[in-house]
């Protein structure tokens, strides 16, 4: 690759290079600082509104109370133990499903699939991220819970298991996309070296490439987990929302209620200032603290991994052999791996096979796992590739089922009038024009807010990190913001923008709330993309006398654009389909005129869909048609962005 050389000398400068550099550095730092300020504000506002419940009922009876009964008579009970248990159970289950499937699929896409297959599978998976959570929820409620009820012979399928499956599916695109990026950026010479030494493909993948990409894969898992913990609308439609701790604790068929679900179903109808209202803010604080804790732990683990595998350079220079700080002996690790494998596979097998086949599966898997080391590398490879292909096929099948369900029911109701007219008869007839426009306004505002800030912050974190205390704080802030559930953003937007700043329920409140929500995704993916650029390029540029900013803007950013665009795609998809953050901040059910100022409320597709699905009887056709439009809109965004990305990928090689 020929490097674009900095043309410093030729350009006249108004500002001396040094001042310019400092200025840019400051701007970037302040971008990054926004993350910290936001986290601080969110916490402050939630605590402000959540404090009364602690002072009233006492911190122990709130945190350790086993009964959540806001309408209890004569005493209201606000004990959050069942809610916390529900959140943990559902999230763990979701990860047990999504992590193996996701990583297998990522390996398949990044390393095994022929280019033609890859070109189909990758966008398809990104599409999975674009399906709005309300659609997942409705699909889960109608198809999945019914299937669970019939398969397991339980009275109701609304359960922990249903929640975990839906959340697992929803976390998949994030996990796959980010791990695939990480796997793809392990340098080619590593795999070439390994293959040259006589290792099989599978040995190369499992012992060289995956360890080399481990920091990226861990990041993927955490991003996915963040999505699972924070998901509201889908989970509240399928878990049954009974505020009980599963009994016995491993009863995956018990209904559960998550912290987010509680906020989602109760926040909308509670009177501001009542004890119930404060209790819900208390719940939000707990939710935030849990996600912050998970993130902190995860960040620490990733930091360790990065040090362990890639001193100084997280991606592109992994050293798989240097396992210095390992806690377990190789022998124990091997055993732990087998146990983990069996545990994970049995969890996947549970929904897939029913009780009878399930025991057989566990037996079979155990057999395979036990004899794993005695098999020849070729057989191992065959088995591994079989599972990987099966996982990828499963993911694609899920996508196909959900998409065809929506398309078959929605396409017939789609017409020109539907796209261009305002709704009539409560959305049962007429169109959804104001909702389309409203969603576009919301997404444009959100991305216009988040993209400059996010890219600035990512550049600061990735390129200007003098790993001082400040950088560390900024980085932690971003990590924390990333794990913050979308409903918490919604509550914050409501408490801060709508009530405190008196914006009212308005377009601008929704745009800022959505913008804040997608900011961490933008930062995260941009950072990963920047890190994928080999350090040698930077060194070359700097050695030629270019300043830091010249290096960043002309050498580092251009090849990182595909990655940055991927981040933007994921964000747009997410912003367009989110209901929770705009539920309390921006939307009205129906509107005759388009919003005429940033301070008037808007209609939005996901909310319209949500209301049609839950509050308007007899709107079947338009409900699915709305889902189709939302999907097509997202596909349109994706198509443009994927086009840009493919264009760049063709032209970037090193």
């Amino acid at each position: 690759m020929t490097l674009p050389l900095p043309r410093q000398a030729k350009q006249g400068r108004l500002i001396p290079a040094r001042t310019g550099e400092t200025l840019i550095r400051l701007i970037l730092l302040s971008c990054a600082g926004i993350a910290i300020v936001t986290i601080f504000f969110i916490l402050a506002f939630l605590i402000r509104d959540g404090y009364p419940v602690l002072s009233e009922t006492g911190i122990t009876s709130f945190l350790l109370g086993t009964e959540w009964n806001p309408t209890g008579y004569p005493v209201e009970k606000f004990g959050i133990v069942p809610l916390v248990a529900g959140t943990l159970c559902v999230t763990l289950g979701a990860m047990a499903i999504a992590v193996p499937l996701g990583i297998a699929c990522a390996i398949c896409v990044a390393r095994l699939a022929p280019p033609a297959v890859r070109a189909v599978v990758k966008p398809a998976i990104e599409l999975l991220a674009g399906i709005p959570s309300v659609v997942y929820g409705f699909f889960g409620l109608i198809v999945l819970t019914d299937w669970i009820r019939a398969t397991f012979g339980v009275p109701s399928g609304e359960s922990w298991l249903a929640g975990s499956i839906i959340l697992g599916i929803m976390a998949l695109p994030t996990i796959i996309s980010v791990s695939e990026d990480a796997l793809s950026c392990v340098p080619r010479e590593f795999s070439e070296g390994s293959l040259a030494l006589g290792a099989t493909h599978w040995q190369t993948i499992s012992r060289v490439i995956v360890p080399g990409a481990l920091p990226g894969i861990s990041a993927a898992v955490i991003l996915g987990m963040g999505r699972a913990i924070g998901e509201t609308m889908a989970v509240l439609m399928v878990t049954g929302n009974a505020a009980i701790v599963p009994s016995p604790l491993w009863n995956v068929l018990s209904p559960v209620r998550t912290l987010t679900g509680t906020l989602g179903i109760e926040m909308g109808e509670v009177a501001t200032g009542s004890m119930h209202y404060h209790a819900l803010f208390g719940v939000a604080v707990v939710l935030l603290v849990i996600t912050l804790a998970v993130n902190l732990v995860a960040t620490t683990i990733i930091g360790r991994l990065r040090e362990q595998y890639a001193p100084g350079r997280p991606c592109g220079n992994a050293v798989p052999g240097s396992r210095r700080a390992s806690l377990l002996s190789p022998e124990m690790r091997e055993r732990a791996k087998i146990i983990l494998l069996v545990a994970v596979l049995s969890l996947i097998g549970l929904p897939a096979a029913g009780i009878a086949g399930y025991a057989g599966c566990v037996f079979l898997f155990s057999l395979v796992a036990l004899s794993w080391r005695r098999l020849s590398p070729r057989t191992t490879q065959k088995i591994a590739f079989f599972f990987i292909s099966a996982a990828t096929a499963t993911v694609l099948l899920i996508l196909a089922v959900i998409l065809s369900d929506i398309l078959v029911k929605g396409l017939p109701a789609l017409s020109f009038e539907f796209l261009t007219e305002p709704p009539r008869d409560l959305g049962r007839s007429g169109g959804i024009f104001p909702a389309i426009v409203g969603t576009l306004y919301l997404v444009a505002g959100a991305i216009g807010f988040a993209l400059p800030l996010g890219i600035g912050a990512a550049i600061y974190l990735s390129e200007y990190r003098a790993e001082g205390k400040l950088t560390k704080i900024v980085r932690t802030g971003t990590e924390l913001l990333n794990g913050t559930p979308s409903i918490v953003f919604g509550l914050f937007g409501f408490a801060f923008l709508v009530l405190f700043l008196k914006f009212g329920v308005s377009l601008i409140a929704g745009q800022i709330t959505l913008g804040l929500m997608i900011l961490p995704t933008v930062i995260r993916t941009t950072e990963e993309a920047l890190k994928g650029v080999p350090v040698s390029l930077r060194e070359g540029s700097l050695a030629l006398g270019a300043t830091q900013w010249q290096t960043v803007s002309r050498v580092v950013i251009p090849p990182a654009v595909p990655g940055i665009v991927t981040g933007a795609i994921l964000s747009i998809g997410r912003a367009a389909g989110e209901t929770a953050p705009i539920l309390f901040t921006a939307v009205v059910f129906s509107q005759r005129f388009l919003p005429d100022s940033p301070f008037s409320p808007v209609m939005a597709l996901p909310y319209h869909l949500y209301i049609l699905a839950t509050n308007i009887p007899g709107a079947e056709a338009n409900k699915y048609a709305t889902a189709v439009v939302l999907l097509l809109l997202v596909i349109l965004f994706y198509a443009i962005a994927i086009g840009i990305r493919t264009h760049y990928q063709k032209n970037t090689h090193w």
């Binding site: 109808e269 009177a271 005429d596 008037s600 009887p617």
Partner: protein, 294 residues
């Protein structure tokens, strides 16, 4: 290689996004700063917001649409949120009209003494089960027993041998509050109750779960669920508009619009419209019980 092309493209991309964002804000602001164009000259656009109960929302919205069709200068926006939110919004003056599906509580009356409520219709709450469930009419006492967890199998109530799945509304819902007072006498619900945040979701669950029971407004009853008659003094009463009108069906409640002081201007015109024949027809079409003569 095209190293030089890349920065230019990023700049274009960023510029495009910025323009999009500015466009979104810019054109809206422009539109906002100009006086809105109205179809009939001499009269400026008047706008009110309604906020509150999601039960009343469909009626309020449908009536607003009908009203706006004939009054081009009126803009009526309807926002959900729940009865408590509606009463509060009216009391605080953040909405012109609050919608509620229950009477004002004593504490709400003392907090906002100036509130005036207007009953616009009634809503019957029906108990629904899966169409395959053959259970006969239930007394209110039995319904209460089901929701308390005293009965766990339909055979205890003369139905098929099948576990009962109890479905209800979330604890912030006005419908649940009403049910809690009227049917449960404020006693606690069974802890394993499935909680749903809308009538539609309750119906959906009941329609696909053979053992389930739920409660929804009359407008939600269709072929996918079966409404259970309620035994009153030995007579089974079907949940229907007729029976609520005749005051025979025991579980019904008023739909209320709340205003701060006597309604005036557009709010008054709108409420008058709702109480008139056209408004009442809309109400009935949405599955609610019109005021009638009684």
């Amino acid at each position: 290689m095209n190293g030089m092309r890349n920065p230019a493209s990023i700049a274009t991309l960023l510029a495009l996004i910025l323009v999009m964002a500015l466009l979104a804000c810019g054109c809206t602001q422009q539109a906002g700063s100009q006086p809105p164009t109205t179809t009939s000259p001499g009269k400026t656009r008047e706008s009110i917001t309604l906020s509150g109960s999601t039960t009343v929302l469909p009626v309020a919205q449908a009536a607003a649409d009908a009203y706006m069709n004939t009054h081009a200068n009126a803009e009526i926006m309807v926002i959900g949120g729940g009865s408590s939110v509606g009463i509060q919004a009216a009391g605080e003056g953040t909405a012109s009209i609050g919608m509620s599906s229950r009477d004002l509580k004593a504490e709400e009356k003392t907090r906002y003494p100036g509130l005036v409520s207007t009953v616009i219709g009634n809503d019957g709450i029906a108990l629904i089960v899966h169409p395959s469930n053959t259970v006969g009419p239930l007394t209110l006492e039995q319904v209460k027993g089901i929701y308390q967890g005293k009965y766990t199998n339909w055979k205890d109530l003369g139905g098929p041998d099948m576990a009962i799945v109890v479905a209800g509304r979330d604890s912030a819902s006005g419908t649940r509050e009403f049910f809690h007072e009227k049917v449960m006498n404020k006693e606690d619900f069974v802890a394993g109750q499935l909680e749903k945040n809308s009538n539609g979701a309750v119906k959906q669950t009941v329609a696909q779960t053979p053992g389930a029971i739920g409660y929804v407004g009359l407008g939600y009853i269709d072929g996918t669920v079966r409404a259970v008659p309620i035994l009153v003094n030995g007579t089974p009463i079907e949940p229907s508009v007729r029976m609520v009108l005749d005051r025979k069906y025991p579980i019904s409640r008023p739909l209320i619009l709340v205003t701060k002081g006597e309604p005036a201007g557009l709010a008054k015109d709108y409420i008058t419209f709702l109480l008139g024949p056209e408004g009442q027809k809309i109400l009935e079409k949405e599955g609610f019980v019109p005021l009638g003569q009684a």
